[in-house]
Symmetry: C2
Subunit: 129 residues, 2 copies
């Protein structure tokens, strides 16, 4: 089931993972970067919602399972080296980050310091209660 | 010189690298994904143009050095886990990919197949001649 050709075409790294960028399909805002193994990619394609591989928990990570912040996949893109993937998604709840922000990339380098530039939309305690 | 705090805050992987997404600062289009080591990030900040680490050549990669397709850095962003970076850039020549396309992510998964969906803007032979 996993031996689909579109999966075989990807250059999985030595851990059998590929980096995946989740981008809002309308605004183009980059929401997060995570990783997939072949099983996660197959599950994402089959289900139409983002499933990643959690490197810390070493298991499939059905994004939004506990928070409700699932990502409906609108399209999937592969780069020239076949070693990076983009998911264009519709972000449920408008929050991708576990900190309660829209995007995980909420820090910007300003005058040599990483500075928070995005507001918290919802208290994480509320999201994960 | 490299021991700047903004560099120390990044969680470099076991190869001392971090994945970097280059995004057009106006359109939001994702142009490419590459890697940086601390020296590449410091050079990028100091010069204001993207400098990556080439994993295949194992050396600093001054993007655009041979093609002229440099990337002027407008802002730099870090994610919640401090293990992924976005560069918002102005892409010189409008071409980021060595295939002569605007973006390296020119393939989209359609009916189970990676399908080219972006045109070649300039023949690579012309770019690298």
């Amino acid at each position: 089931m996993i031996a689909k050709s579109y999966i075989d075409e990807i250059k999985w790294n030595s851990d059998q993972l590929v980096p995946v960028i989740a981008q809002d399909h309308l605004s183009g805002k980059i929401l997060m970067m995570a990783w997939m193994n072949p099983e996660a990619l197959a599950a994402t394609v089959d289900r139409g919602v983002a499933v990643y591989w959690s490197r810390s928990r070493r298991q499939l990570w059905r994004k939004g399972e506990s928070s409700g912040h699932t990502q409906r996949v609108m399209s999937i893109h592969l780069d020239c080296d076949a070693d990076a993937v983009i998911l264009k998604v519709e972000q449920q709840g408008g929050i991708a980050c576990h900190t309660g922000r829209q995007s995980c990339f909420y820090r910007e380098l300003r005058d040599g310091e990483w500075t928070n530039v995005e507001e918290v939309l919802r208290d994480p305690k509320e999201i994960y209660s």
